[in-house]
């Protein structure tokens, strides 16, 4: 089977765009990715579109109505926060299978403000604050506290994740925020769900990202200079675990995906030069250091203390600023992190460039649960 290559990839600067529609945001990113590839919408053989908020409203087709109704097949998909990665993977699979040579993947989201989650709905009375909390900050706080019970991870160590990612975002003009947040600022910010303060929660933003994926034959025809090879594409759901009815298990679903991805790529975590992982809350990033094999179990706290995951460290994580500061437009996130890693592999990440990056990993988690992992490789 042919290898699959990213020939064009881009994202809009994340922010709040209430005056725009979802298809308009998606169309903007799609055109940017097409320009990056030097191709036109007429060259695309299929479109894979990821969006959550309007999952039943044919967003992919409406993007084509903005940029060119060429009559190609469109797949609209929704998979919680793994939506963008799922759209990208469906695009990858169609090329890998030899069905298509050139396809477009778009992830787009327009977000409201405020808390996500909650155990409302249905009949009877609201359960929030009665049967614990279903809010996302609380759910991921509980997952972080599970790590604390096992390894003694501290509030301060969780907070350091946010300090690091906010620092990284000062080097990324496409991030929602470019603001340094010292440790005391993070720890003294409004407590949302202990141990997650407001600055340890991802930012609700609007955003869109897109990628053009091509076959090896097409890549050779177009030129390999800026091509990025997709070494692994994996999607998992959560295997059964004892507490998963009341405590979504983001660990097993990630570990399963990571081991499959390393096997597919024929490499190990020691070969990876940078990682964009799903820091929807600061607590989550700590868990995923271990889930992705970036360190041994129980070492994640030491890793953040010693700066191993900061830009310049042993294995930089979320140099884009991550979901904590770049922002988290749900359906766009899984392609935006592919843009970030590809940009480093192309050597085009400017001030935040991870020097000599040859192999990078992206990771997203959608609660419910889905995990998408991609391993990307520099070609030229």
């Amino acid at each position: 089977m042919s290898d699959v290559y990213i020939m064009g990839v881009d994202m809009i600067k994340f922010g709040r765009f209430p005056e725009k529609t979802v298809p308009q945001l998606g169309a903007t990113a799609a055109l940017m990715a097409l320009d990056d590839a030097g191709l036109k919408i007429q060259d695309m053989q299929a479109l894979y579109c990821g969006n959550l908020g309007q999952a039943s409203a044919m967003v992919g087709q409406r993007i084509l109505q903005e940029i060119g109704q060429t009559g190609i097949g469109v797949v609209n998909c929704a998979n919680a926060c793994a939506t963008g990665a799922t759209a990208f993977r469906e695009a990858w699979m169609s090329v890998k299978a030899g069905v298509n040579d050139v396809v477009l993947a778009v992830g787009v989201e327009q977000m409201g403000k405020g808390l996500l989650g909650g155990s409302g709905g249905g009949t009877g009375i609201p359960k929030e604050g009665l049967l614990g909390s279903g809010t996302m900050p609380a759910v991921f706080a509980e997952a972080g506290m599970e790590h604390a019970r096992q390894y003694g991870t501290t509030f301060e160590q969780f907070a350091k994740v946010s300090v690091k990612n906010h620092h990284h975002s000062t080097l990324n003009p496409k991030a929602m925020y470019q603001i340094e947040t010292p440790l005391e600022t993070v720890m003294n910010a409004e407590m949302i769900s202990y141990p997650n303060t407001k600055l340890m929660c991802s930012v609700n933003v609007d955003g869109a990202a897109a990628a053009v994926l091509v076959s090896e034959k097409k890549a050779r025809e177009l030129g390999m200079d800026r091509a990025v090879r997709v070494k692994a594409s994996v999607l998992t759901s959560d295997p059964y675990s004892d507490r998963d009815l009341v405590m979504p298990n983001v660990n097993d679903v990630t570990r399963r995906a990571a081991s499959q991805a390393y096997e597919m790529a024929g490499c190990g975590p020691e070969d990876i030069d940078l990682v964009e992982l799903h820091d929807c809350f600061a607590t989550a990033e700590i868990l995923h250091y271990e889930n992705l094999g970036l360190c041994k179990d129980g070492e994640a706290g030491r890793m953040i203390d010693e700066g191993e995951t900061a830009l310049g460290g042993r294995i930089p994580v979320n140099v884009s600023g991550g979901l904590l500061s770049k922002g988290h437009p749900l359906g766009a996130t899984g392609i935006a992190n592919i843009y970030e890693v590809a940009t480093h592999l192309r050597g085009e990440a400017d001030k935040r460039q991870v020097g000599g990056a040859k192999l990078g990993m992206t990771h997203v988690i959608g609660l419910g649960s889905a995990c998408g992992i991609h391993i990307l490789e520099k070609v030229a």
Partner: protein
């Protein structure tokens, strides 16, 4: 994905309780709370006869081992240990904070999430694996649109 504010709005506005509804007595907050309105309320799990996995609520098949039609009801213990928690300081409008959202492993199987009460919402006071007990009480005064009151379960430090 988003939180459905619909039932919430009803709760916040409040509805006039009808005499008829009030006469039926308290309803269970979840369908796996049994014996609501009696002096012997309890939580009911469903246990897989093949692998022993315990679920909350009725089901036909086991999501742990895939066994079909092997589920049988089991009365869950009122004794357990605190597995994990968060102290919630910001919730939806109208929800009193702070409160402790707790995950408790029950003796003999079953993990349940609920509010941990009768302890300071302070991480220094809360210990992992602390013994807790399940208690039953009115659902914080919350009523549905027909004016029915509800009985809920809570965790508190074991006596």
């Amino acid at each position: 994905m988003g939180f459905n504010l619909e039932p919430f709005a009803t709760y916040l506005i409040g509805e006039i309780m009808s005499e008829e509804a009030a006469a039926t007595g308290p309803l269970p907050v979840v369908d796996w709370l049994k014996g609501a309105g009696t002096d012997d309320p309890y939580l009911e799990g469903h246990k897989c006869g093949e692998c022993g996995a315990v679920f909350l609520g009725e089901r036909d098949n086991c999501s742990s081992c895939g066994a079909r039609d092997k589920m049988s009801p089991t009365r869950l213990s009122t004794k357990g240990k605190l597995y994990s928690y968060s102290i919630v300081h910001r919730s939806f409008p109208g929800i009193e904070v702070p409160y402790i959202s707790a995950i408790v492993d029950l003796e003999g199987g079953g993990t349940v999430k609920g509010n941990l009460i009768n302890i300071d919402p302070d991480p220094a006071k809360i210990e992992f694996d602390m013994p807790v007990e399940v208690v039953f009480d009115d659902a914080l005064g919350r009523k549905d649109r027909d004016g029915n009151s509800y009985i809920s379960y809570f965790f508190q430090p074991a006596a």
